[in-house]
């Protein structure tokens, strides 16, 4: 049994005041100054914290909103002077896809490295667009599961990037062709570059260091390469955009993976890279525009060994009026690859719209080998996704001032929490290996199917 994948974590508290969902409005007027004021009874001690916060306030751009919404003080105040309110800052976090709930849970995971746990059942919608239109399966009576979660058995989340040949060629008892290089990652996650509108120079070193700590790989644009220690190169993959010259040979040889932008000369560029470093695995980055799906399938017919398909930040087809969602595009590519008997010849990495740990599992079920993420790591640093990141802007997370240790700690915590959650869903499914989950749609239930099989069957008249 290989050594168990374990990420070292420690709690990293937020630098900025917490942005909670609720705040307390206090109509102090008419207060009768009870000596046993209900504010003292808040079991989370929020009123005292708020007072302290205001007393020590240095800048006034953030208010204290961290009440847990239990209504106890509100309902017990002798004069009924307290009232809860929704925090407008909370409600305006993110956007329609990156919802306030996603942002808040990401913050908590980046702080604690823990799997979010809560009581009182599920509070959300029945289903929804995108990844919310699928459920993962569980297995009632059979195997590993909790044992795996608590360490007595091993649930493997590792994946390989590269070609897995269907058979080996031998000539006179000797391997006729070398076995293609594979990059082995302990988790189906690639750390992608930050999108342009959020590209903050100080984040790259943190992402690379996080990759090293978590034994993953971070993609780094070769054009804007930060200073790198040699020891870090194992956890870096250069991204070569179109027209970017070949990287420094010495550095390239220290890396395991390289990503090349799709383009007319992509085959030559892969060759050029392999000339320098034959054991490197080359990934082609394909934007999921209207012909992205076809392009990915087409590339797999050639010599390409790994494809990174990237939707927009919301997981949608890029630039389409009625965009397809990443999960459906992955399913299409995966099916087409199987039909063309190319599925194991190529590794499929999917990015764009992967916002929660569950999306990783679901993308894999839909047919990706692994996913790439960027925004969740940024959100982990208390980002609000408000896009006020320009230098001198009014970034509420003050990302211009972050320290490396904080960033690495928070990003690492988030990845650890995702890993824990991946193990939870796999445990429930009775799965020991994430490699076997790829494309196994039998491990999922899709909203459209269940609706049709259940209510469609029952309520469609005349059928």
């Amino acid at each position: 049994m290989p050594e168990k994948y374990h990420i070292e974590t420690r709690p990293i508290p937020p630098r900025r005041p917490r942005v909670g969902k609720y705040g307390i409005v206090d109509w102090r007027e008419d207060c009768c100054r009870c000596h046993n004021c209900v504010k003292k009874a808040c079991i989370y001690d929020r009123h005292r914290e708020e007072t302290n916060y205001i007393r020590n306030l240095t800048d006034v751009d953030a208010l204290f909103f961290d009440c847990m919404g239990c209504f106890s003080c509100v309902q017990d105040c002798a004069k009924g002077l307290l009232s809860l309110s929704l925090n407008p800052v909370y409600e305006n976090l993110g956007n329609a896809y990156w919802t306030p709930e996603i942002i808040r849970t990401t913050w908590l995971q980046a702080e604690t490295a823990k799997i979010p746990v809560s009581g009182a059942g599920y509070k959300g919608r029945f289903s929804g667009p995108g990844f919310d239109a699928m459920w993962t399966d569980m297995s009632e009576i059979v195997r590993p599961t909790r044992d795996g979660i608590h360490g007595r058995e091993y649930i493997s989340t590792s994946v390989d990037i590269g070609r897995k040949p269907a058979f080996l060629h031998f000539e006179q008892g000797e391997l006729a062709r070398p076995i293609p290089a594979l990059v082995d990652l302990p988790m189906p996650l690639l750390i992608d570059m930050m999108p342009d509108q959020y590209r903050l120079s100080r984040l790259e070193p943190a992402m690379i260091k996080t990759a090293r700590k978590t034994d993953l790989i971070a993609l780094v644009d070769y054009r804007s390469l930060p200073k790198l220690a040699r020891s870090q190169l194992r956890h870096v993959a250069f991204y070569l955009d179109q027209g970017v010259k070949m990287p420094d040979a010495d550095m390239l040889r220290q890396t395991r993976l390289v990503e090349i932008a799709d383009g007319p000369d992509v085959a030559e560029r892969i060759d050029a890279v392999k000339q320098i470093h034959p054991e490197i695995v080359a990934v082609v980055r394909v934007a999921l525009t209207s012909d992205g799906v076809e392009r990915a399938v087409k590339l797999a017919e050639g010599e390409v060994e790994a494809i990174h398909v990237v939707a927009d930040l919301q997981g949608n087809e890029v630039g389409a009026e009625r965009p397809r969602f990443i999960k459906d595009m992955i399913r299409k590519i995966h099916r087409d690859l199987i039909e063309n008997s190319r599925r194991d010849e190529v590794t499929l990495i999917a990015g764009g719209g992967i916002a929660l740990a569950e999306h990783t599992a679901k993308a894999v079920i839909c047919g990706a080998d692994l996913v790439s993420i960027n925004l969740p790591l940024l959100i982990g640093l208390e980002c609000h996704l408000c896009r006020r990141c320009e230098p001198g802007g009014s970034c509420p997370a003050k990302l211009e001032q972050v320290e490396l240790d904080y960033c690495v700690g928070r990003m690492t915590n988030l990845i650890a929490a995702w890993h824990g959650q991946l193990i939870e869903v796999m445990g429930a499914m009775g799965m020991r290996e994430i490699r076997r989950l790829r494309g196994d749609v039998g491990r999922a239930m899709f909203f459209e199917d269940l609706e049709e099989q259940t209510f469609g069957k029952l309520f469609t008249s005349g059928s």
Binding site: Q75, L86, G121, W135, E140, I141
Partner: protein, 527 residues
């Protein structure tokens, strides 16, 4: 007092092992009388508030006209204190002849929606549903239509929330006499006792540890009053529950916390918990903080460590193993019925049929969206299918196997109100198990903090020595008794409107339902 066991005491003697009889304590008795049980909080949350401006001359007119006793005053006080706004029926009062806003000679009053209401509730339990449940727990009746509470459905946009009953325009000739809401739990004809409960639901397993003593006892007493059941959950059998033995289902869960032969022999129903909807495939999990001195003693565990009950049963890897388990319990307790609780994977229908053949009396399917205890968010949202899909699936498969009438199908995981009960039954269940609704009746606001730190800030789901005693047992039991009453009354109204005489007649009647996304006549937009 009605007894769900159709046994006379002498029969009990022949069935119960001697040691059980010797240790048997007198059983608690309790009637199902509705009594007012107003909120235990000073300021009940209200949907509307009254604004009174400075023109008020304190003439007291509003107090005399209002029939809902919204306005209050205290002798010796000149000004009006905050009223009982939660009893105000809001703008719909304008239609009546006692609308204080119109009758105030100074026009000093104004009704507004309480801005705080936005902070209450969620997609599955919107504020209206919580407030309506509180009214039911307070009064024993569903809120009158005047309140305008939309509590029949939540806002989740799927499942029960998209299903509606198709009530006939002219309900078939008024059904006279009692509508039968009882449910028979043993359909196997295997010589074991028949057990009939008076309402088609019973209380779900909430272990001591996850909820307080008071909560657990209140549930048990309501079960006695309504001649139904409550379940111990997997935290062991509290001594304090023994006066309720005849209305307790004891759980044998994977952790086997506190399970002893003696506890199994006490009860009429034993439930095997394979999985639970909120965390399917993940087993139970009691966070270390909640493993207090008393919990640790009950579970025979070390204080303060997190308690996991493993998943699955490590002695059960097949239906045959499950059967062995059932045989073991049947042997230990010769009168017990067996319930098998599973969650809802794709093959839930196979699991159900397998359980039937293994000898279970009750198949209990627990969908993913319910649950009360702590569970990973990722599991609650994503793992296993919602109960609305699972019920027809299992019901249909049991029918196809020809065994539907030999087993009782119980559904849980998101049953929030009497309409959900009726919908679940119309989809094919015989009855349901409820959990969250009882907690809401006790004042739960669904803040989801039950798991953390000292537990529930509202004294419901906590064993914290300071927090837990804040809730009074008599009050709590009355709230649940009232809730059950309101639910049953409403269920009867639903059945009458559908022209049915019993809950049993409703089972599987999907023809009485419609789904808003599959309108019966597609040319007609019924939304």
């Amino acid at each position: 007092m009605a007894n769900c066991l159709h046994l006379d005491p002498s029969e009990l003697e022949t069935l119960l092992p001697e040691n059980t009889l010797k240790t048997r304590v007198p059983q608690y008795e309790c009637d199902r009388q509705v009594r007012p049980a107003p909120s235990r909080f000073r300021n009940e949350i209200s949907k509307y508030i009254l604004l009174r401006n400075e023109n008020c001359i304190h003439c007291g007119k509003c107090m005399t006209v209002c029939q809902h006793k919204v306005h209050v005053t205290y002798s010796g006080y000149k000004l009006f204190p905050k009223g009982r706004y939660h009893q105000c029926i809001g703008p719909s009062c304008a239609k009546t002849d006692h609308y204080c806003v119109d009758l105030c000679p100074q026009r000093a009053l104004q009704i507004a929606e309480n801005p705080m209401i936005k902070c209450l509730g969620d997609f599955r339990w919107p504020a209206d549903m919580i407030l309506a449940t509180w009214i039911m727990a307070q009064t024993g009746e569903v809120p009158s239509a005047d309140y305008g509470y939309d509590y029949e459905c939540g806002d989740s946009g799927g499942g029960f929330d998209r299903l509606r009953f198709q009530f006939p325009d002219n309900p078939p000739a008024d059904i006279e006499g009692e509508v039968d809401t009882t449910l028979e739990l043993n359909r196997r004809d295997d010589g074991r006792p028949r057990i009939t409960i008076d309402v088609p639901w019973y209380g779900g397993g909430m272990s001591f540890g996850s909820v307080s003593n008071t909560t657990q006892l209140a549930k048990a007493r309501a079960a006695v009053a309504w001649n139904t059941f409550t379940c111990t959950g997997e935290g062991g059998y509290m001594e304090r529950l023994r006066p309720y033995d005849d209305h307790v289902i004891t759980q044998v869960a994977t952790g086997l916390f506190g399970v002893r032969e003696e506890t199994i022999q006490r009860v009429p129903i034993v439930e095997f918990k394979y999985a639970q909807g909120a965390k399917p495939g993940l087993g139970g999990h009691l966070l270390g903080d909640k493993n207090t001195v008393s919990v640790a003693r009950m579970r025979e565990a070390v204080l303060g460590i997190s308690l996991f009950s493993p998943f699955p049963f490590h002695s059960v890897y097949s239906i045959e193993d499950h059967m062995k388990h059932i045989d073991w319990i049947k042997h230990v307790n010769r009168r017990a019925l067996i319930s098998t609780k599973v969650s809802t994977p794709t093959d839930v229908d196979m699991v159900a049929v397998g359980s039937y053949y293994a000898g279970t009396h009750i198949v209990h399917i627990d969908g993913g969206y319910g649950g009360t205890g702590a569970a990973p968010d990722i599991a609650k949202k994503n793992i296993a299918m919602p109960i609305e899909y699972a019920i027809p699936k299992v019901h249909g498969f049991l029918e196809a196997e020809g065994v539907r009438d030999a087993v009782t199908l119980i559904a849980s995981g998101g049953i929030r109100n009497p309409y959900d009960v009726a919908k679940a039954i119309a989809l094919g269940a015989d009855g349901v198990v409820i959990g969250t609704a009882e907690l809401v009746a006790l004042g739960c606001v669904r803040c989801s903090r039950c798991e953390s730190g000292r537990g529930c800030p509202r004294s419901i789901a906590t064993t914290d020595p300071e927090l837990a005693p804040k809730m009074d047992l008599e009050w709590a039991q009355q709230r649940i008794i009232n809730l059950y009453h309101a639910w049953r009354q409403e269920l009867i109204r639903i059945l009458r409107r559908l022209g049915l005489r019993s809950v049993g007649e409703l089972r599987g009647r999907t023809d009485l339902l419609m789904h808003l996304d599959f309108p019966p006549d597609k040319t007609e937009d019924i939304q």
